[in-house]
Structures are given as structure tokens and as C-alpha cells.
């Protein structure tokens, strides 16, 4: 079986990973009164509180800042969850993988689908907020670029999940390392704060791939611009992640189950 056949086999198990993703999501909120609505509520509380404080700290207009922050945080939450949960994808699936021969992609699909459901729920807050702040002027072709941006981010997440999962199963230090790395990346990437104008083109920001992933969503809505450079960076990241999977799949295909 090669990598593409694995993905094809995983797609055929669509009903399984959709069910597992839904159960996984529900299990996180088992017994709570609000259930999965906590996903939206937690985002609203986070964005609301941080906007009040940071709009003053950064001396920004509250309306502009809350939109910048909301889009940044919800996109960052998706990216960071993919990285941290990606580390445990295969170890969590150990029960299944030790039972029968299953495609690696089954569990990658499960995790990415679960995070996409969360991302969709975030839109319950984000879309009304965009219309509230921007009004109907936002109804333009810019939405095409936002959807295209999300598509690129999801595809990158899909392929990155494979190698993050493989690496974390093989080297047990990777998972705690990624946990710390995500916190550091959050602080050095412009999620809470926009890059200062005079440094916007500096290599510090331009070489940070996460800055570009955030720009895929933020630039069309907040600045009304097509983030051409960020799109090219995302295409490069997608190609790179696909190549990593294609090269390493045959090496880890039969070994992964031994590392779980």
C-alpha cells in the first residue's frame, strides 16, 4: 500500500471517522449543561476579555481590534490544536490499530474533521461579528479568498498531521516539546498584536509561516487585500508537507503499530 492508497482507503472509512470525531468532540463535554456550545462561548469570552485589555494596551480602535483578534485567535486555535492533537493521533488510535490493519489516514481524517467541526462552530461567532463591524461592505469577492485560505490551511493540517503523529509515536519527547513550542509560537506570532508598520516587511515576520497562515484569513477581511505572498507561502507549505508524507510513508507504514 502506498500513501495515496492509504488516503483512498481512509476515505472509504468515512462513516467510521466521522462518527469517531463526533464522539470525541461530545466526550470532551460529557455531563456539561451547555455541551459543545462551550466551544463558541470559550472563544467569545477569550476574544471579549482580551479585546478590552489589548485594545487599550496597544492603543487600537476597539471595533477594528476585536475583529483582528477574533479572526487571529480562531485560526490560531485550529492550527495549535492540529499540532498538539496531531502528536497523539496514532497513540490514541492504538486500540484500533492493534486490532486490525487500518489505514493511517483514517485517524488523521478523524482528527482534522473534528477540528473542522470546531472551526465551523467558531464561525457562529465570527461571521456575525464581521457583519456587525464591517457592515454589508464585506459582501464581496473577498470571501472567495477567505474560503480558499481555509482550504489551504485545512489541507496543510491534513498532511502535517501524518508526520507529526509518526514522529511523536516514534520519539516520545516530541509531544511535550510541541506543547511548549505552541505556547512560544503563540507569543512570537502576530496573533494578539498586529505587526508594527515599520517592521511589517521584516524577515522576522515574513519567515514565520504561521504569520502567513493567519494572514490568509485576516488580510481579506480586515484589510480587504488579497494576501498574495501568504498564498504562495501556504502553497509551498502544502507541497512540502505532501512531499514529507510521500517520502516517509513507506518507511513508517508497517513500523508505526510497533511504536504505539
Amino acid at each position: 500500500m502506498n500513501f495515496l492508497e492509504d488516503i483512498k482507503g481512509g476515505l472509504l472509512r468515512k462513516r467510521l471517522w466521522i462518527e469517531l470525531a463526533k464522539l470525541d468532540l461530545k466526550a470532551n463535554y460529557q455531563g456539561s449543561a451547555l455541551g459543545v456550545f462551550w466551544i463558541v462561548l470559550a472563544l467569545m469570552l477569550k476574544v471579549g476579555m482580551l479585546s478590552v485589555v489589548y485594545s487599550m494596551v496597544l492603543d487600537k480602535n476597539f471595533g477594528d481590534y476585536i475583529l483582528f483578534l477574533a479572526l487571529g485567535i480562531l485560526t490560531w486555535n485550529f492550527i495549535s490544536s492540529i499540532i498538539t492533537n496531531g502528536a497523539t493521533i496514532f497513540r490514541k488510535a492504538s486500540n484500533f490499530m492493534q486490532q486490525m490493519r487500518l489505514e493511517h489516514s483514517t485517524f488523521v481524517f478523524q482528527n482534522v474533521y473534528k477540528e473542522c467541526l470546531v472551526l465551523l462552530m467558531y464561525q457562529l461567532f465570527a461571521i456575525p461579528l464581521v457583519f456587525f463591524i464591517k457592515g454589508t461592505e464585506i459582501l464581496s469577492w473577498m470571501w472567495f479568498w477567505v474560503i480558499f485560505g481555509y482550504l489551504l490551511i485545512i489541507l496543510i493540517a491534513f498532511f502535517a498531521s501524518f508526520w507529526i503523529g509518526w514522529l511523536s509515536a516514534r520519539f516520545r519527547d516530541i509531544q511535550p516539546m510541541l506543547g511548549s513550542l505552541v505556547v512560544i509560537l503563540f507569543l512570537i506570532t502576530p496573533v494578539l498584536w498586529p505587526p508594527p508598520e515599520k517592521f511589517a516587511d521584516s524577515l522576522y515576520f515574513q519567515l514565520n509561516p504561521f504569520f502567513h497562515l493567519l494572514e490568509l484569513i485576516r488580510a481579506p477581511i480586515v484589510q480587504g487585500e488579497v494576501p498574495v505572498t501568504s498564498i504562495w507561502v501556504a502553497v509551498f507549505l502544502l507541497t512540502l508537507n505532501m512531499l514529507i508524507c510521500l517520502i516517509f510513508y513507506s518507511k513508517v507504514r508497517d513500523r508505526l503499530v510497533l511504536w504505539l
Binding site: 484500533f96 490493519r101 508497517d254 503499530v257 511504536w259
Partner: protein, 236 residues
Amino acid sequence: MAQIQLKNVTFSYKYFPSIGGGLFKSSSGLKSKVALRHIDLNIEKGDTVALLGTNGAGKSTLLKLISGVFKPEQGVVKTNGKIYSFFGRNVGVMPQLSGYDNLKVRGLLLNLNDKEIAEKIEEIVEFTGLGEDLERPVSTYSQGMRARLTFGMLMFVNAEILLVDEGLAAGDKFFLAKTHKFVNDLLDQSKILIFASHSNELLRRFCKKALWLNNGEVMAFGSFETVLKQYNQFKK
């Protein structure tokens, strides 16, 4: 026609020996142990085979090699027929989910359609007598209820080759008699059963042949009572 053939199969499993280690030490941290050595085996349709051997003899590894979960380092494993594997009493059971969800996931894992899953679950509810308990999280089940649910999962079987590792010990005497009848009905002449258990009573109920493994090597393969006698003498 169901058939299993192993030719000169050798396999080593890998494991992390402790919670210690580090990124640069991990290569040495991952240990390797030979689990099976030069195994030759031929199992034909209608064979019901008990796996005998002490802990670490290679029984579970052999089942995982036949199921395709593991690939042999050396040699060839050939199987003919659809395989249903069931390894360990709690493997595949997710305690935070309800019994019903666990059964549904099992059906989906076997690529059954919604109608087939619903019919099977109805059958399992009737057979196991779990009734409304299936709505509760499995973490709240007693040992006996868990055993019944586990057996219920086994009832999804739709294959010619049935591989079971410690899964048929299902609760009280009354239920055990029911499971015995169910498995016997299931194993018509076209099916193969390979069953690993430490309970000779259970093995005797379901198996006509036995394979004795010791330190990853085949010590004997033949009729159940003959091989069991050899195994018991060896243990003394």
C-alpha cells in the same frame, strides 16, 4: 476456501523499556525482542486451533501477524478468507462512551452499513441481556457487564477466519453456555478459529486442535488433547 500459511516467519517486536529516555537517546531507548522464530504453519478450513503457551510465548504476536496488524521481518504469511480479529477483553472498548456507541463503532470498523449495524445491535441486545444499560457509559459497568459487551462485539463477526485473544470468557455460567452455543453455530466447516486463552476449559469447549508455542518457537501442533498433555508435562 479459508486457509492460513506461514513459511519461515520471524518477527521481533519493539518496545520502550521505561518512561525515561530522550530525543537523542530514543534510538537506543527503543528495544527489540524476538517474539517468533522460523515459524512454519498450515491451517486449513474447519480447523479450530487453541494457542497454548506461557506468557510471552508469542501467542498474541502470532495472531497479530496472521491478522496483518504486524508484518513479518522474515518469511511469508499467506491468508485466504476474510479475517475478523478480536484481541483482548478491553481492546476496542472505549469506557467514556456508552455500550451502544461502542457497538456502533465496532460495526463501522467492519464497514457494515447502518441497517446491518442496527440489526446486529438488536440481536446483541437480546443475546447479552444488557438492555437499557447499553445507554450508559461503559466506565459504569460491572466486570460481568463489560464481559457481556465484549462478547457482543465479537458477535459482529462476518468472516471466514476468526482470531480471538482472551475474549470468550463472558460472565456467569448461564451466559457462558449461551456463548458456547453461539460460537459453535458460527464455526461451520468453512471457518477457521484460532483462540488464545489461559483457560483450558474454554479452549477445550471451542477447539479440536492445539498449537503449543514456547519462546517464539512451535513445540507441537496436533490434536488438542495430545498437545495439551505435552504442554502440561512441560510445565511440570
